[in-house]
């Protein structure tokens, strides 16, 4: 049974980007320890058949990897796996990438993604508000958090919702270098 998974790196205090919308702290942490070699992302992504992200995340990827100048890098990262980008604004498209720009209700988009993914998983890249919208609709099955050895004190929140036990169940805890990987099963919303 394929799952819809929010897989993300986060600080110890639950921020996925710092107050300047930067991830420099993450790359530093990745290189400082033994995490780079142990990073489980490739194994995770091998089972992903479709993925979605919000506008801020998309723009960050676009800028960070200079994808408009070097569009082939997208395929290096994500192959031909189709991606959906949620945005109220008009965003630049990456030539050659399988991108669908959408907005509004996550449910019909999730249905389209599930059809495209077939028997593979759906990855919610971020940000937290988009993951929250999937959770609100009862469409989120799992959280996989790579906790970096960093506190930020402020920034973009991991998941700006209230979800407590027993809706969340810890199903995995693993150390990879200086990162702790926490996996939670997400139950349906109450009521």
């Amino acid at each position: 049974m394929p799952k819809t998974q929010f897989y993300t790196a986060t600080s110890i205090d639950g921020f996925i980007a710092d107050a300047d919308n930067s991830l420099d702290w993450l790359f530093e942490a990745d290189q400082a320890g033994e995490h780079e070699a142990a990073n489980p992302f490739a194994a995770f992504f091998a089972d992903v058949g479709a993925f979605a992200m919000g506008a801020t995340t998309y723009e960050w990827v676009l800028e960070h990897d200079a994808l408009l100048d070097q569009p082939l890098k997208w395929a290096d990262y994500y192959g031909d796996t189709p991606a959906w980008v949620f945005s109220h604004r008009s965003l630049a498209s990456i030539p050659g990438a399988d991108l669908t720009f959408v907005q509004g209700d996550v449910r019909p988009v999730h249905a389209a993604m599930a059809e495209a993914a077939k028997d593979k998983n759906i990855w919610i890249v971020g940000g937290g508000e988009l993951a929250g919208a999937f959770a609100d609709a009862g469409l989120l099955d799992e959280l996989i958090l790579g906790v970096a050895p960093v506190t930020l004190g402020a920034g973009a929140p991991l998941l700006p919702r209230r979800m407590t036990a027993p809706r969340l169940t810890l199903t995995g805890l693993e150390r990879k270098g200086e990162f702790a990987y926490l996996t939670y099963r997400v139950g349906p919303p109450p009521g």
């Binding site: 600080s11 110890i12 205090d13 639950g14 921020f15 702290w25 530093e28 942490a29 400082a32 320890g33 959280l143 958090l145 906790v147 970096a148 050895p149 960093v150 506190t151 930020l152 004190g153 402020a154 929140p157 991991l158 998941l159 700006p160 919702r161 209230r162 979800m163 407590t164 036990a165 027993p166 969340l168 169940t169 810890l170 805890l173 693993e174 150390r175 200086e178 990162f179 702790a180 926490l182 939670y184």
Partner: protein, 206 residues
């Protein structure tokens, strides 16, 4: 040789809050803690502890300490506790509690003496622990992460600590809690084994 540390041991949500926006811990008490909550073993190594005013007031109320002061002794025995406050707070009758304010360094010195070679526990909140961190006095963070996201509340540690200053030294699951332990400080960058050695030297020369 076991060497004394100053440790921040706390429960927290996944998203780094130690209490929700109503200053409640209900989300914490409904979590399956397993058969062997490690707090007892942790506290048996503690020789002195400190907390902020809001934490103290929460404990007072939650454990009904003004009417049942014996509850304090059941939890903390005679281990001395320093409460940082700028306000007048009611003392728990017959409890070994000192009300203090101001510079954490001076208080920490007194706590280390009182602890007699045992550890110093910082119970919270995050802002108080942040002041110890700023003064370079925090050696270890032990987080009991509950399976909950809260979205808002009291931050676990409202500071910026980089991967140069934190090293993950231990992970363990107990019931539904994930326990993460970090070495803190410039020593963290030396790696966890070296950090343990260096901490020993630092304390031995203190």
């Amino acid at each position: 040789m076991v060497v004394a540390k100053t440790q921040y041991y706390t429960a927290t949500s996944i998203d780094g809050y130690t209490a929700d926006r109503d200053n409640s811990l209900e989300w914490l008490f409904e979590v399956d803690e397993g058969t062997d909550n490690p707090f007892g073993a942790f506290f048996s190594g503690v020789g002195a502890f400190a907390m902020g005013a809001a934490t103290y007031e929460w404990v007072l109320k939650n454990d009904n300490l003004l009417e049942e002061p014996e509850n304090w002794h059941e939890m903390y025995g005679d281990v001395p506790c320093w409460v940082f406050t700028n306000r007048e707070l009611p003392p728990v009758p017959d409890a070994n509690v000192f009300m203090v304010s101001g510079d954490v360094r001076r208080v920490h010195d007194a706590m280390v003496v009182a602890a007699q070679g045992r550890n110093v526990w910082l119970a919270g909140g995050g802002e108080l622990v942040g002041e110890f961190t700023d003064a370079g006095l925090l050696d270890e963070i032990i987080l009991a992460i509950a399976p909950a996201v809260l979205g808002a509340g009291t931050p676990v540690l409202p500071r910026q600590l980089t991967s140069q200053q934190l090293a993950l030294t231990h992970v363990a699951q107990m019931g539904q809690f994930a326990y993460l332990t970090y070495a803190v400080g410039s020593l963290a960058r030396l790696g966890r084994h070296l950090a343990a050695d260096a901490l020993a030297r630092k304390h031995a020369y203190r």
